[in-house]
């Protein structure tokens, strides 16, 4: 089934935040962010700005009726800076004026004096200063200390990954509209409407029932609008609360890039030990996560790094420790993969380095150690593994042996161009690692004319979740999809939602829709049984026709709906779903946190221009474990997009902060995201359809985040090509692998 927004998307009729028609009297806001990354505010003079044309009022922390706090996991993030600024761009004042231009002009007239304090941007320095967001955490399996003694090969090193700017093409923003009796409706570009509502209630000092957060769709989120959409919505709501006027703020691209957090950069140490047969016996990793100035979601990101520290491999002895380090950067946050990619990069680096030292290919070590069903992850869960089927199928389907020979031949015959290839197996756990978040609700109404209206907590941001929700309802009822309408996501229709994140949105909300529909259907079947003088268990509906024991009757869906209504049977239902069988004990760091895992293998081939250091990605061939896909078109799009985004993270996307904590890559001319050239020349995706029972909706496994990690393979393929040109190159494990780094690696002595 095609994306249900196809028609409006291609006609320019889809409504995003900035397209909502303005209500009369709407005012416009703009944030004045700190010009310094760390310091004490000595003076804040708003008088010239206040006198500026069109300015209505300027808000600071002093105008907050509730608490000046928006920290979700740790209460360490003020909405507005009070005395201290912790990062460049930290909100200090919110100017509200009669036009965007007036608000922006007034910002330039704000005078601030800041006594500078030491700026820390390096997570390792923060750790030395003991400046941590939360206490460090360690996952342990077996006894790595003892196991290293049995190892024939022990290799250690450093692996680093840079951050990643979300660069949703729709920037952050919100539009607050005051309602009767002190209520406020906020149209927000957020992945987490309940998070916005909860923090807004605290800041304004009002109950959550006064605040409707409504989301039609996002022009991209990728994790950047999970927690970071909250502040803009609250600024608008705060102004609307005081002024009793609608207030809108849609960020300019450069404001967005400067003031919002990104994927957490990591700097990690690893030590890996193998026996003579290349079995990995022991692995130690220490992760230094650059959290930025506040916790945001970093502690949860950190946790997922630990969960994925051994990727798709079984290692019997593991010690992995992670530090969430406080620095003076904007609070870093969720980004597709959520710490998983950062952890998986390190084990892949360790394997690559071990392979070099031993004198074998990484392929051999990877293949030897793939996780099998029944093997234990470092957090105690036992694998139900598709790692080997994916790996083996990729080798045969894409003829790995032949490719390898071709590349060797090419490299022997060419001096100025070298090819490289890599294998990238992935294993990604599906569920929020915070168990309580694995719940969802859906509200389903069947109207008396037979049409259906579905509301869920899922936010549509291009991942096609609303299409999948609609499919669930139309499949369960067995009615024409055109009879089903998806609603916007509103905290007044569905309460206490989890954010659309963790790849789990379609599973959680889909199951809630399924439950709601089934409950309505059960009541309708009782009505049908009464009309047809049979048992309700004999009744089914197929293509809008009531069947008894699989034989069609004359009763249609529309008739049965109306008849149910006339008999005063409820045609509405709120479905509630909570993932069963998952648990985790953080005091032991053991449990069964994931509903299931998603597996896959990517083979990546690249060609490096050894004069220029530039490169192209020849092919990415993937075998991906879909379970049983419920929408192959949407799932394929997610895989392709995830790979492109992963390649971007690993190759060209380079975030640069200077030593003063100022973002230098603050626009699209200095921060390069994948363009149409960045897509691999060949991109093949094979669907590994598995029949194993799983907890996914219609057994269609989650697909949002896992494919991003195929992009890691590009880094190692490039590195292999560099090594083919210069085997002595000491090129390290520092992503992204920009052409500059490739060039330095090619001619490294």
């Amino acid at each position: 089934m095609k994306n249900i927004d196809s028609y409006t998307h291609t006609r320019g009729e889809s409504i995003y935040l900035d397209d909502v028609p303005l209500t009369q009297g709407t005012l416009f806001g703009a944030i004045f962010g700190s010009p310094a990354a760390h310091g004490k505010i000595k003076k804040l003079d708003l008088s010239a700005a206040m006198a500026s044309e069109g300015v209505v009022r300027i808000f600071t922390w002093k105008d907050i009726p509730g608490v000046n706090q928006i920290g979700g996991i740790v209460p360490d993030e003020p909405l507005f800076a009070e005395d201290i600024v912790d990062f460049n761009g930290m909100p200090v004042a919110f100017v509200v004026a009669t036009s965007v231009e007036h608000a922006q002009a007034a910002i330039k007239k704000i005078i601030i004096e800041i006594d500078p304090l030491t700026v820390v941007t390096d997570p390792r320095v923060a750790r030395q200063n003991n400046s941590l967001i939360v206490p460090p955490r360690t996952f342990r399996l077996g006894d790595s200390d003892a196991a290293f003694k049995d190892c024939v090969h022990v290799v250690e090193g450093i692996a680093e990954t840079n951050g990643q700017e979300h660069l949703y093409i729709e920037t952050q923003g919100a539009y607050a509209l005051p309602q009767e009796h002190g209520a406020i409706k906020v149209i927000s570009s957020t992945q987490g409407p309940t998070a916005v509502q909860r923090h807004m209630a605290k800041v304004l000092g009002v109950p959550m029932h006064q605040l409707e957060i409504d989301v039609t769709r996002l022009g991209g989120g990728f994790g950047g609008k999970e927690d970071q959409a909250t502040s803009w919505a609250i600024f608008c709501a705060l102004a609307a609360y005081h002024l009793k006027k609608p207030v809108k703020y849609s960020l300019h691209r450069m404001e967005d890039m400067r003031m919002t957090g990104k994927r957490n950069p990591y700097s990690s140490d690893f030590r890996i030990g193998l026996d003579a047969e290349l079995n990995i016996l022991a692995y130690e990793a220490t992760f230094h996560q650059n959290a930025g100035a506040a916790a945001d979601l970093s502690p949860a990101v950190l946790e997922r790094t630990l969960f994925h520290c051994t990727n798709s491999y079984f290692i019997p002895n593991v010690t992995a420790t992670a530090y969430s380090c406080r620095t003076n950067l904007p609070p870093n946050t969720a980004f597709r993969g959520f710490g998983g990619p950062q952890g998986m990069f390190v084990i892949e680096a360790a394997i690559a380095k071990a392979a070099e030292k031993i004198g074998v290919s990484a392929f051999e070590i990877q293949q030897k150690n793939l996780i099998k069903s029944g093997d234990e992850f470092p957090y105690g869960q036992l694998a139900v593994s598709e790692a080997l089927p994916c790996w083996n199928r990729s080798l045969s389907l894409f003829d790995h042996a032949k490719k390898k020979k071709e590349i060797e031949k090419f490299n022997a015959e060419n001096i100025l161009y070298k090819k490289g290839m890599s294998m990238m197996p992935i294993c990604f756990g599906i569920s929020f690692t915070k168990i309580l978040m694995n719940q969802a609700r859906a509200l389903v109404h069947v109207y008396m004319d037979g049409s259906v209206n579905v509301s869920t907590g899922a936010v549509e941001m291009g991942q096609g979740v609303n299409t999948k929700m609609l499919q669930v309802a139309s499949t369960i009822f067995s009615i024409d999809p055109a009879k089903v309408k998806m609603n916007s996501t509103s905290t007044f229709r569905v309460a206490n939602t989890s954010p659309s994140a963790a790849s789990a949105t379609a599973d959680l909300n889909g199951k809630a829709v399924q439950i709601a529909c089934n409950n309505i259907l059960d009541r309708m079947k009782t009505v049908a049984a009464d009309i047809l003088k049979c048992s309700a268990t004999e009744v089914s509906i197929k293509n809008e026709i009531v069947h008894v024991n699989d034989a069609a009757t004359e009763i249609s869906w529309d008739f049965l709906v109306l008849e149910s209504y006339l008999r005063r049977i409820s045609l509405s239902e709120s479905g509630h779903y909570a993932t069963p069988d998952i648990h985790f004990d953080a005091s032991k760091e053991k449990g069964h946190p994931f509903a299931y895992h998603v597996y896959g293998t990517a083979i990546t081939e690249v060609t490096v221009d050894c004069l220029r250091g530039t490169y192209k990605i020849d092919a990415v061939n993937v075998v991906h474990d879909f379970g049983t896909t419920m929408n192959a078109l949407i799932d394929r799009g997610q895989i392709e997009g995830g790979i492109v985004q992963g390649i971007g993270w690993m190759t060209m996307e380079e975030i640069v902060y200077d030593e003063a904590g100022r973002l230098r890559s603050n626009t699209l001319s200095t921060y390069k995201v994948p363009d149409i050239y960045s897509v691999p020349q060949m991109l093949e995706i094979d669907f590994l359809e598995t029949k194993n029972d799983n907890l996914a909706i219609f057994r269609s496994k989650a697909v949002g985040e896992p494919p991003l990690m195929y992009g890691i393979g590009t880094f190692f393929a490039l590195r292999n090509a560099v090594k083919a040109f210069n085997p002595k190159s000491s090129i390290g494990f520092s992503a992204p692998m920009t052409p500059e780094k490739v060039l330095m690696g090619l001619y490294d002595k």
Partner: protein, 196 residues
């Protein structure tokens, strides 16, 4: 363990920014620059503007500094054209002026006087989609949809310009439009489909 400092763009940016901060600009030169900037920035001037947009004639008054993008979105409520970066780097705001594609965020509204502007809203013939719109649906050329109007306007122009002889050529002439969801393969396929 040693950590190698490698030369990279990061190094380059850091160095140049450091040099920039240290550069001793004489105060006199600074004052001159500020004054010059003041003179160069045009003052607000409301100008009449006659323009045809999607075959409909408009007579509006616009600030001479208003971009075509803001005129379309804020004044005329044609919100199909999207603002992605507002400085010509993403392509989301692409429209046609007299059949040529332009970035409406880098075009002043007053420059369109007497011209024909086509936006995404003007592409379909009533309920009948333009072949490119149809192709984008068939080839799955989008995910979140935000860059889509710009992609489609660019794609239509790409075909009209005849830049569709190879995938490489399509890529070259579509490289100004970013899609963060990464639906590029579908976009190329859509153009190939219409070009045939």
């Amino acid at each position: 363990m040693e950590r190698k400092q490698s030369f990279s763009r990061r190094f380059f940016l850091k160095t140049t920014s450091f040099a920039g901060a240290l550069a001793l600009i004489p105060p006199k030169a600074k004052a001159l620059y500020t004054e010059l900037k003041q003179r160069l920035i045009p003052t607000k001037e409301i100008m009449p503007l006659t323009v045809t947009i999607n075959k409909k004639a408009y007579e509006v008054k616009a600030d001479s500094r208003t971009t075509l993008l803001d005129l379309l979105r804020e004044n005329l409520h044609l919100t199909g054209t999207k603002k992605g970066c507002d400085h010509g780097q993403c392509g989301a705001c692409t429209v046609h002026i007299d059949g040529q594609r332009v970035l409406s965020c880098l075009t002043l509204a007053v420059m369109t006087t007497g011209k024909n502007v086509t936006t995404i809203e003007g592409l379909a013939d009533g309920d009948k989609l333009h072949p490119m719109q149809q192709a984008f649906i068939e080839c799955d050329g989008f995910q979140c949809g935000y860059c889509t109007p710009g992609q489609i306007m660019s794609a239509v122009a790409c075909v009209n310009e005849g830049h569709t002889r190879s995938v490489a050529e399509i890529k070259e002439f579509m490289s100004g439009n970013l899609c963060r969801c990464g639906a590029y393969n579908g976009i190329v396929e859509s153009i190939q489909k219409v070009a045939i």
